[in-house]
Amino acid sequence: MKQHTPLTPGIVAGRLTPQEYEANFGDISPRLAPHEASVAANRCYFCYDAPCVTACPTSIDIPLFIRQIATGTPEAAARTILSQNILGGMCARVCPTENLCEGACVRETAEGDPVTIGRLQRYATDTLMADGTHPFTRAKPTGKRVAVVGGGPAGLSCAHRLALLGHSVTIYEARAKLGGLNEYGIASYKAPEDFAQREIDWLLQIGGIEVRTNTKVESLSKLRDYDAIFLGVGLAGTNSLGLDKMKNVRDAVEFIAELRQQPDRAKLAVGRNVVVIGGGMTAVDAAVQSKLLGAENVTIVYRRTRGDMGASDVEKAHAETHGVRIVTGAVPAAMGAEARFTYAADASQSLALAADQVLSAIGQTLAQVPVGEKDGLRHEGRKLAPKPAPDVWAGGDCAAGGDDLTVTAVAEGRDAAESIHKALMGA
C-alpha cells in the first residue's frame, strides 16, 4: 500500500507508519506496577459508608478492595469487585471515574486528587484474571431456563448472575461476537489486546450459559418456552442529522465499530479534514480515533454550550490534548466538501469547515425491539420500562433510567437477574 500522510487529500487509509499506529492505539492507561499500586492503595482512608461506593452504580465495596490490595492480596480484592460487578475488568478501563467513584473520593475534596480507584480496580482484576481461573462456582441447577436477548454488558451481567444462581441461560446475540459495545463501541485504546473477548471467555467459565451468536431475535413469541426473558438489546439505532445525506457523512458508531473490528489500523480510511457532529462520548471517541488514524484536522461541532456536552471534562480535555478542536453553539446547516454551520447565538453568522469526512454522533435510539404491544410491553419515554411485561425484564441502554454507561448496564443486568431469581424461585 502506498504510504499516505496526514496531508493526503480525501479519505484514505495508511496515513501513518506502523510504529505510529502502534503507539497511537496502545493501552492508554497501562496496568499499575506493584509499587504504583501500593502507593495508590495506601492513600485510601477506608471511609465509613464511603461516598465512592454510593457513586458506583454497581456499589463495589471500594474501600475494602483497596485495603485488600494494600495488604498484598489483589486476588481477594478482585473477588470483592467481581462479586458486585462481573465486568469489573472492563469497567476499570472504561468508566468515567471522574464522574463516578473518583469524583466522590474524599481526597478529591481534600486535595483535588482522588485515589485512583479505576486503575486500582484494573490492577486487582487483571491479577486475578491472569491465572485464567474463575473465582465463582455455580449453584446447583434449578431446572429453570432464561433467555437473554443481547450479549452486551447488560446481557452478560444478567446471564452470569443467573447462571451463578443455578439457572440455565441462553444468550441470543444478533452480531457475530458477544460483548455489545464493549466489542463494537468502546474506544480501542481503552481496552486493547482483545480484552473484551478475553473477559467474556473468562466470564463464561461459570458454566450454564449457552451462546447463540448471529441470532437476531425477531419476535419474543419464539422464546415463550423460557421461564423468563431478559432484554439487553441496547440502542441499536442512531439519530439522523436530518440533512440531505451526503456521501461523506457517516455514522460515528458504525465508523468506530469498523475500527474496533480491524486489527490492522493501516487498512482504515480516514479523512484529512474530519468534522464530528455531536457532544457525547461517541463524538469524542470518533474524533480522537480519527486523529489517531492520521487525520490532519479534526473538529467536534456541538450545537449547545460546552457545559451541555455529554462528554465529561476529562474526555473533553482528552480530545483537546490529542489536537481535536471543539466548537460549540453551532448548528449543522449543510454538509458537503465543506461542512456549514450557523451559530445558535446569531443565525446571521456561519462557520464553514473543510470536510473530507463528516461523522455523525448525535445519539442512539432504541431500534425496533423484538416485541410489540401484544407482549404487554411498556415504554417509558423513548426507552423500555425496566420491567416491561410479566415475564420480561429489561436493563442496560435499552431500559429507562440510569446513565447510558457500561457500569449501569452491568448493574441493571445483575439486578434483573436477582429479580428473575426471586420471581422464579418464589422469594
Binding site: 477506608f46 474501600p63 475494602l64 485495603r67 494494600a70 495488604t71 486476588e75 481477594a76
Partner: protein, 433 residues
Amino acid sequence: MANLQSTFVGIKSPNPFWLASAPPTDKKYNVERAYEAGWGGVVWKTLGSEGPPVVNVNGPRYGAIWGPDRRLLGLNNIELITDRPLQVNLQEIKEVKRKWRDRALVISLMVPCDEESWKDILKRIEDTEADGVELNFGCPHGMAERGMGSAVGQVPEYIEMVTRWVKQYSRMPCIVKLTPNITDVRRPAEAAKRGGADAVSLINTINSITSVNLDSFAPEPTIDGKGTHGGYCGPAVKPIALNMVAEIARSPETRGIPISGIGGVTTWRDAAEFMALGAGNVQVCTAAMTYGFKVVQEMISGLSQYLDEKGLASTADLVGRAVPNVTDWQYLNLNYVTKAVIDQEACIKCGRCYAACEDTSHQAIAMSADRTFTVKEDECVACNLCVDVCPVESCITMRELGLGELDQRTGRKVASFANWTTHPNNPSAKAAE
C-alpha cells in the same frame, strides 16, 4: 477456601479475630454490630466489682502519633475499665450471648486483689453463659494506682494467687491478660501457668507519653493543664508484642500454653505473624477504633487466601510454625553471608540508601555522577539498612552467597554453618563437633 474456624481453650469462633477488651466491646450495641461485621468473638470491656462504677475523665482520653498522610500509628489512652453499672453489663452480655451462639464472648474482669472480691464477681457472672473470663492484669494507668491492673500484673505471686482463686471458684476457661510493663514477660506467664490459667493473652497497653504540648507545657492528652502517662497501643506496639508472644511460646517453662496475641494487629498479615509465633488467635482494638468494625473483612479474606496459598487447611496448622525458628543470637549462623543488590530498573535514584550507608553505616554504596547507585561488595556488611530506608519495596534485596563463594569484604570463602558458641573469638567457645 481455607476454614478459619478457630477453637481457643475450647471456645469456638468462626474466625480467630476477636475484639480486645476496650471501648469497641463496651456494650451490646457495639458488640452486635461487631458480630454483624464478621468478628469471630469479643472480650467484653473489663468489668469491676459491684458498687458505684468507676468514673472516667471528661476531657480527652487519647494521645496519638501519626505517620505521613496522618496515618495513625500509635494511640495512647487514659481510660479506665467500664464505667457502666455492673448489672447493665451483665444483662447485656447475657442477651448478646443468647443471640449469637456461634461467636465467642469472654468477660474481662478486674476487681481488688482479695479472695472475696473475686469470688463475688465470678458468682455474679455465672449465669451470663459467657464462654470464659479474661483477667485484666494489664491496665497501666489509673486502676494500677488503686492496686489493680498492672499493679497485680507486675507481681508474679499475685497473678498466681488470683488465677488460683478464679480456677477455684469458676469452671470457665481462664485467660490471664499480661502487662508489657515488666522486665521479663516470661515470669508473669509462668505465674499464670502455675496458678492454673488455661491461656495467657498479651499485650495490654504500654506506659507512654505520646507528645507534649509546647504551648501549655503539658503532656497530651491534657486534662485542664495536666496530663498523665497512658497506655500505648496500635501498629507501633506490634514488634514489642510479637517478641513477648515468642518468648512465652519458646520458653521451656511456658511452652504450649495457649496464647491470645494482642498488640497492633491491623491486617491479616499481622494476625498471621502472631499466629506463626504461637498465638492461637488474635485480639484487636486500635485497628477497629481507627477504621471501624468492617476492617475485619480484610483480615478474613487475607488470612484465608494466605492459608490457601500455603496449602494449610486451617488456622491450627499455622499456629506456632515460626516458633522453632526463634532462637538466641548465639545460635545464629555466622557463616551466612549476604550482600545488598540494587535493582537498577526499579531504582528511582533518590539516594536514600546512599545517605544511610555513607553517613551512618559502612560506606558500601557507590554513587556515580549520573546518580547510579551500586553496592560495593567488598565493603557491604549486609546490615540491611539500605533495604529498610529504600522507598521502593523490593528495589534493594539481599543476595545470599553460596557455599564456597568469595566474600569480597573478608577475602574468605563462605564456609558451612558455625555460630558464636564455636567461634574462635568467643572466650567460652566449645570446640566444634
